[in-house]
């Protein structure tokens, strides 16, 4: 049985708790066991813009805590994943800041040696569980469902650091979605940013970037966005709802989290998957499900 340390970060428990419950439910079916560490703190991503040391310390302390358990880390959030991977990359170099960070972590009775493998939720499903095993678990498949997958920047790039997938033509997420019977549509802005990093610092720009994505996804006849990151999901769900409120008549394109999409076709009940917790109604997703497999 596979066992990971589960890292959910800050946004998921406070604003997208359904991502956690859905992800747990799906992983359980695949026999993946998750260990929790209460002493985890922020990955450092939100401080990275203005305070490199706070960012590094945050990531490295989490990695050092994981090392005490001798397990790899399974990360749900793209931005946490990116921050942890970048911190690992920075710590591989020598320098005074690195020494300072190590010193502080050691003062806390921990040590960092870079032993923990940082894994993204989608990578674990794709590489470890595998498409074939996923297909075996499906109770129903989707029919005529068009999905616009949102890879998210911080998982894909910088690819030399994150090593998630081919940065120019990634396919991992598309294949995972296709495994459920849904069609992953091609859309022009697929690999672009959702706009969340500028939410709160330049709201107009953030909204523009999202609107372009929305247009492109609608043009590609997508029925839903599908995300694997709480920031992307909040941008596509919560923020889109705010924008819809501001512009009467605009039709929303709801967003579903990948474990919600997968979980439904695996026969996990909508309540466990937290379908109702999304701000924009995604209940019609169930109407795309085929009859029970024989």
């Amino acid at each position: 049985m596979e066992r990971y340390i589960f890292f959910i970060g800050c946004q998921i428990p406070s604003r997208v708790p359904q991502y956690e419950t859905a992800a747990r439910a799906v992983l359980k079916k695949f026999g993946v066991e998750l260990a929790d560490i209460r002493q985890f703190n922020c990955c450092g991503y939100p401080m990275r813009n203005v305070d490199k040391k706070a960012f590094l310390l945050s990531s490295v302390k989490n990695l050092a805590l994981s090392e005490t358990q001798g397990l790899d880390m399974l990360v749900l959030c793209n931005c946490c994943f990116g921050a942890l991977k970048n911190a690992e990359h920075i710590m591989a170099e020598k320098g005074p800041l690195q020494d300072e960070v190590l010193g502080t972590v050691r003062e806390m009775g921990l040590d960092y040696q870079g032993k923990t493998r940082i894994r993204h939720y989608l990578s674990v499903l794709y590489h470890d569980t595998g498409i074939a095993a996923i297909k075996k678990q499906l109770h129903k498949t989707y029919e005529e469902l068009n999905i616009a997958v949102q890879y998210g920047c911080h998982a894909l790039r910088p690819s030399t650091v994150t090593q998630f997938d081919d940065p120019a033509a990634p396919s991992l997420f598309d294949e995972l979605v296709a495994a459920t019977g849904a069609k992953s549509v091609d859309w022009t802005n697929k690999l672009e940013c959702c706009g969340a990093p500028l939410m709160g610092t330049n709201d107009a720009l953030s909204a523009d970037l999202f609107s372009r994505k929305l247009e492109a996804a609608i043009k590609a006849e997508a029925d839903f966005f599908c995300t694997s990151c709480p920031y992307c999901q909040i941008q596509f769900d919560t923020v889109q709802q705010m924008l819809v409120e501001d512009n009467a008549g605009q039709k929303p394109l709801p967003s579903i989290l990948f474990p919600q999409l997968l979980g439904l076709s695996m026969g996990i009940d909508p309540q466990t998957l937290g379908l109702g917790a999304n701000k924009l109604d995604i209940s019609k997703i169930e109407s795309y499900l085929s009859k029970d497999k024989e």
Binding site: R38, N41, D51, G200
Partner: protein, 590 residues
Amino acid sequence: MVFTVSLYASLIIFFLGLIYRGGTWFQREAGFYGQEMSASARFFSAFQSMLAVIFSPKIVRLLQAFVLDVLLQRKILKESVLRWAMHMLIFWGFILLLFMHALGQIVTDSLFSNYESTLNPYFFLRDLFGSMVLAGVVIAVIRRFFLKIPRLMTSSMDKYAIGILAVIILSGFLLSGLKITSETEFSNMVDEYAGWLSDEELRALESYWVSDQGLVSSDVTRPFEADVLQQGKQAHESYCAYCHAPAQSAFASYSTGKILSPAAGAMDRAGFVGILWYIHFLSCFIGLAYLPFSKMLHIFSTPVTIMANAVMDEKKSKPENVATRQIIELDACTHCCTCSLYCSAMMGYEARQNTYILPSEKIAPLKALAAGRDLDEAETRAILEGIYLCTNCDRCTVVCPSGINLRQLWLNAREKLLQQGPAEPLVLSQLSFVRGLNRKKTPADIYPLPLEKADNAVSAKYRPLLDPDRSIDLTPPAAGRQLASGFENTFSYCFGCQNCSTVCPVVGNYEDPQEQLGLLPHQIMCSLGLGLTETAMGAKMIWDCLTCYQCQEHCPQNVNVTDILYELKYMAVAGVDEARQNHDQAGGLR
């Protein structure tokens, strides 16, 4: 006389203090939202809503919270058994002492017909309850001063609270212990209850008390004859036992007496019984009078907070009631530091050593601000940084044993400080995400002000360098500062293909990107190549960067474009810190 005067004085101060503190609950506001409500409107709104809850099904939730979270303190139990034991011992020990012992004449006497403090079970129970409090205080001292609990800070208020409890209980045990040994007390009792005994009988009684009841006497000396003791015991049973249980029942006092016994005679003659009596009741009265102004007020404010939050709905509650609740919440914090133990931003605290980053340490300054106290410049900056360096993960709210809705409190206080306080560079980070999500709560005309202030602080002095009509001086030392870390110096590989600017979604968003962003990514790389670091630091581009890494990914020359933009941001922020330090040192602070 002293007793009566100080009792009434402390009671008066206590009740006036409660009225005053209760009054502030309706007058003050913790932050930005709900500033324009009158105290009377808030009072009547609270009154109305409380009535509405009492006559609705919500009463079940209210009672449930009272039993599980107030009386049984479920949240502390979840956190740590030791802490739960500590708080339960102090809480129940003290409550029971208060009703059975301090208010014995009023409460116990009216409930039980045979009440006499020296009779069992009361004689025993007083020591039991006192020992409970003492055990709790010992755990508190060990936790606060000996165990190395991360980020558990101990303020002078915490020390006072532990200290006053310790003085009350220890003086009580010493007093009753000394009374057991006291010859003076013994002869007073004899005069009152057995004054007619013969000298021989008295000596027998005294011998029996020395031998069996812990008395220390200068009149009789060991060893005692068996028949003398037998006679003394008979006298004891006839005249004493009906209203004096064996001294051993008061186990803690009895042991204290035994420990004191070598010095007991001298202490008795020096009048220590009286001195300890004064210390005991005066410490009780000081504790009572000061209670409304100390953290012990939490015995009122915390249950109110816990029960209010059990029935209040974040979205539906009236703003008047939220404003009132938030002031009560500031009083409900016991500074237990559970929030800081699990704070997601804890490493921000480690990096910056600003204690206000820790949630538990923010309450005191927020209280001061709510009371309208002026804080100096450096203090205000520190609090603003502390309250902004928060990832809004809500863990503090989830774990708070006092049930404080810290999440909402931060949002509210943060906006006020952002609007009224100095520029805060942290506003330009992704920590602003949640402020963006809540932007509709702030009037649209003032929402951007904190961002403009911060942008001005980090960039204003570099902006003139971006003037396209300015001639550029390329001779050294125009180079300015070098980029901080060696491996970000990849800008020198740039051969100007402009791929980075072409793929940048921010650049692509504008028809006039250069006007909007100052410099485009490739121009920034070029500027750095020319040594124009400060020019690059003035570009709005660095702050509008999504950190999506498209530029870096698409660079054919392996220039770490995004990482370089990060370094420029660090340098711009460091410039603000430096300027502030110089300003403070130059006497900008009084």
